[in-house]
Structures are given as C-alpha cells and as structure tokens.
Symmetry: C2
Subunit: 375 residues, 2 copies
Amino acid sequence: MKVKYELLKEDTKTNARRGLLHTNYGTYETPMFMPVGTQATVKTLSKEEIKELGSGVILSNTYHLWLRPGEDIINKAGGLHKFMNYDGPILTDCGGFQVFSLVKNKAKDITEEGVHFKSHIDGSNLFLTPEKSIQIQNKLDSDIAMSFDECIPYPASYEYAKKSTERTLRWAKRGKAVFNNERQSLFGIVQGGEYEDLRHLSAIETVKIGFDGYAIGGTSVGEDKETMYKMIDYAIEKLPKDKPRYLMGVGDPVDIIEGVIRGVDMFDCVLPTRIARHGNAFTRFGKINIKNAKYKEDFTPLEENCDCYTCKSYTKAYIRHLIVANESLGQRLLSIHNIRFLIRLTEDLRVAIDENNILEYKEKFMKDYLHENNK
Amino acid sequence: MKVKYELLKEDTKTNARRGLLHTNYGTYETPMFMPVGTQATVKTLSKEEIKELGSGVILSNTYHLWLRPGEDIINKAGGLHKFMNYDGPILTDCGGFQVFSLVKNKAKDITEEGVHFKSHIDGSNLFLTPEKSIQIQNKLDSDIAMSFDECIPYPASYEYAKKSTERTLRWAKRGKAVFNNERQSLFGIVQGGEYEDLRHLSAIETVKIGFDGYAIGGTSVGEDKETMYKMIDYAIEKLPKDKPRYLMGVGDPVDIIEGVIRGVDMFDCVLPTRIARHGNAFTRFGKINIKNAKYKEDFTPLEENCDCYTCKSYTKAYIRHLIVANESLGQRLLSIHNIRFLIRLTEDLRVAIDENNILEYKEKFMKDYLHENNK
C-alpha cells in the first residue's frame, strides 16, 4: 500500500502538527525521527534494539546498497526487509546526496541525462540517472522511495539554483514515469536553494507531478540556521496538508524542534550514531564527550531520567572505559542512547502539540540544551 | 563463597566427567566453555546476549583492567560485576600470560621478585609480582582469581622448565599468603612444560599449597597436539577429583573434546570472538569464511540446526554483506554464533558423558569437522 498521512491535531500558535503515518508495517505517530541504516544496518544495532527505541520508519541508502551488495542480491533475498530481516517500514533515499559529493567536475559530470562520478569503494566510473535510482529502489522494495534530485550546495547563485531546481523537476517526472512497485510509495523532493520563489516553484511543481509525500532537500549544507529555517518555511507554504512532510538529513535537536514548529512530520540523520563513534552523547543539558576525564569515576547514567537500555543498565564510567578501550559495545550503548534521545524529543513534541505549548517547550529546551554547550 | 565442584557422573571408558560448579551467582554445569571479556566486555556483546548463549562463568583479564580503567576505579564502582553490570560468575586471569609476552629480555626481566615489562598502551615500564596480581584481583572482586604463574614457552629446555616451574610454585605460595577476599575463590596453575615429572611435581606441590580449583597452563603455546594432550594427562593424573579443572586458553573444538575426555571441566578462549572479526564461523563441517564469494546469494543460516540468535534471524548473504561492508553488527552476529557453537559443543559432550558414548561422539564430530577443513 501507499503510505497515508492522517492529520490528528494542529497547533494553535505555530504550524506544528501531530499525525499518523499508515504504512505496510503498521501505523506510526508523527512527528517522528527516523534512524539511519546506511548499509542495511543501523550501525551497531540489532533489529530488536531498533524497535525497542520506539522507531517508526528507518532509512537505508540506495547508493550504498547499489554498490554493495547490489540491488539484485537484495531483490533475490525477497527485498530489503527480508534481507535485513526487519519487519518495520523502511525508506530508501535516492542516492543523489552521496553521488553529488563524489562528482569531480560539476560542469561536466552533471548532465541532463544523469550524473557521472567515481565509486567511493574502488574508484570505478559510475553513472546514475533518475530512472536508474527509481529502478534500484523498486528492486530494493523499500516502503518509501525517494525521487532523484540534486542537493544544491550553499551558497549557490540564483542562476545555478534555478537551473538545478528545474532539472530536478524534470528528473522527478522521469523517475515517476518508470516507477513500478505496487506496495512502495514515492516521495518528491523540494529544492530551490535559499530562494523563496524557487522554493515556491519547486514545491508547486513537485506537487503538480503528484507524490505520496514531500521532502525538503538542500538544507543542512552549510547555511546559517535562519536561512535553513526560511528554506523550510518557503517549501511548506506550498505543500498540501494531507501528505507527510520530510526534512532530509536533519537531526540536531534544536533543528528538529524548529522543523516541527514549521510543520515537518519526519526527520532523519546519521548524527546520533556518528557522534556515538566519537564518544559523544546527547543530554538535555547539551552534548557531552564521555572520554572526558571527569567521567572516570562517574557511576551515574548518561542521563538521570532517560528510559533507554543504556541509561537503565550502565554508568558513565563504564561507557567511558569501553570507548577509551575501543570496545564496540561502547559505540552501541551511545548509539542506543542518542537515537532514543531524538525519538524521545519527538515524543515530547507530540505532547507539546497536544497541549498547545510547543513554544514554551522550545524555550525551556533551548535554555537547558544550549546552556551547557556554551560552558 | 568459594566455588564448589560437585561430581555428577564419570564416564566409564575415559576420564571425562560431568559436574556442577556452585558459585556466588548460581550453579552451572560442567564441562563448560567460558567466553572471554578481556576488557570487562565480551567483544561486541551485551550482558543479555552473553546469558542467552548459555554461558556459565565468563572471563576477564587482570592485566588489561589493571592498566585500563585501573583496579581502583572498578573497586570504587563496587567490583567488576557492578562495573560491568553483570550478574553471573566472573573469573579473572592472573595477568601472567599477557605480561610475559611483553617482556623484552627474558634473562634480565623475569626475576624471583616479579616481572618487568612495558605497557602495550604507552610503553611505560611496569612491574608485576605475585602479590600485586592477587591484590588487583582481590580489588576487582571477581568470583575466581588465578594464581600468578609463568606460562613456559614451547619448546623449553628441561632446565628452564624446572627452574620456572619451581618459581611458579613459590609465586603461588606468595600469592596465596596475601590473598584477602572472603567471597572470591583462588585457583592454582599447574605448569611443568612438556615434561612428565615436572607436570607431576607441579600438580602435586600446587595441590599441597591448596586451592579452590586447579588450572592447567602452558598449553596451546606452539606444541603439537599429541604433546598438548600429554601435558593435560600428566597434570590431571595428580589433581584431586573434588576440585574443578580448568584448561587455560583452549577453544579449538577438537581440543575441547580431547580435554573433556581427559577430565577437564572448564575451558576459555578468545578464538570465537577473534575469528569472528575476520569473518570466520565455526560450523559442524569445519570453519567457514563468510567473505567467500560463494555466500553472496546464500540465503540460508550459518548452520541449519543451530539455535543461536544469529542462525534463527539472519542469512549468510546478509552476514557476508555486513562483514564486507565493515559493519560491526557482522562481528557481533558471528561472535554470537561462534560462542554458542562452543557452548553447544560442551552441552553435547555432557549428554555424551551421560550416555557413555563420548568416544563415538568424538569420532563422528572429527569426521564431519575435519573433513570440510581439509577440502
């Protein structure tokens, strides 16, 4: 089935909204944070652990799976769910974000037909087109596929942004034309850079093509926060209320709050697992680095009131020891906590929407969270 | 409490025996395989996973914990169990095995007083004595501490083996003299190299000192299989029936069977987790390397009838993908299977002892296991 968004409640003072996302694998509440499983595994976690965190949809990366193990092997396994043995909804990205970062000569390698680039594994020459991206995703058989787009860098000239945005629209049409999977949904992606009229154009035209949901792309690419929030506003102004809205690649806690206030339903980011690898943990009072010597004899959990497995079972001193000794259980425990932290944040935001006090929630959260960071 | 060994059944045709080991954390069946958690963590596994494997005692390494995080921090945490949050029995080794591998100049650095060597972490000069080893282990508060010994290399001259064995006996006395932990047991270690009279001497004199259990050390150090099995025989001839016998560092499936046949109750080895890191899995038909291209599209479990989490949940193709893509979940899944394989082996051996057919079991096992290895 195609995913369906059900609007439950709109905030009275902001664009924030609560809803439900109906999927092939059950119904999940929004706003939601989606953990990222780049290579068909959320780094260090088992499928049971992913579920225990309260995850709804999880993400996987088309570019990575295309190269390794290859979409045909996953298709032969019976699709990505069977390959990973994961019985929850999975969204695959379109590969664009990875591919554009591997392009050597922008002017020459990005063509109307598609994108030329070199494999990050063996340097071989590869070519990805909108059709190919969709065909790979059809074979992966995720629950939600993403339209192939160019993630416009920041800053970009108006001319470049316009040219790229219009090409992404043509790519979206081409992708949709070859899309062929009954049980899979297809989301369009709004680009347009920092420019209000281009974001409007992109949103309006993408909606005209018609998708099961809409993503906002091209944020978190180096722009300042105010610019990022404007990009979100511009896009959402022209998006329909009856479809889910997904802000791609955003996982900073403050950005999640700002996104929800602007009407975003879905977020994803590698941040919680990536910072875990460097010994960092989210806490209500800002990020901490567990390698800091002050945690050597700290026999309290990462966060006193956290309900995650890590906080219920282990102390900072033990996790510090694991990270310092380069034991992978350390990464796993921090990943569990960090993902749960962001999912808990979205749970809190849902309650705040119900209680019409999301702006107060934001103010309190930022006071605590940024305070410690500035110490 | 001190551990107690309860003999349940002796095999009629071999020295194999079934028993129970009563510990501070419950009673466990022997023969048993003990997973190794070098740095207060069985690599990649959570405490729940360790239990699920059917583990009895687990191991941790005194040398590693002494250096990192330090025995005082673990003591302040309330001991190793609280530090790791593990409520099962833990055995700590004496540090000797690691320390002797770090000695630069054997003649100069191994003294009657103790051993001079350099830290593997920062190269600093360290000195470990029998008293210090015991004091560290007392502080770690494991359930079973090991006496400080020299693991004699192979080959070693009769003169060296004699000198070393006698010194290990003096070290055993010195360690026992300072031992001070009511709830901890202390095991002695039989050395003697390959020499029958020295193994006898070592066993007899170690038993005279009096310990809660006896380990056989200095095997698996490069000797051929027949020599190793003789070393075990020589030691066990002089060990009492009412105490547990522990063959240190042995985890090859065939060696476990041979050890059990000779009367060994406890085994430990890093093998199952170490080979997992290189993509290897134990199977009844020999070790396999999952990176082999033939598993790319193999959608069957590592072993058809294995009851482990990995085999119940994932295919060879998926595990291969994880290992090739360097995803730590791959190591974890192989570690789970490999440890469970050895624990299942000891479970089978207990049944074989009950049924007086351990020699038939061995013959059948070796036929299957070595056959594939020789392919």
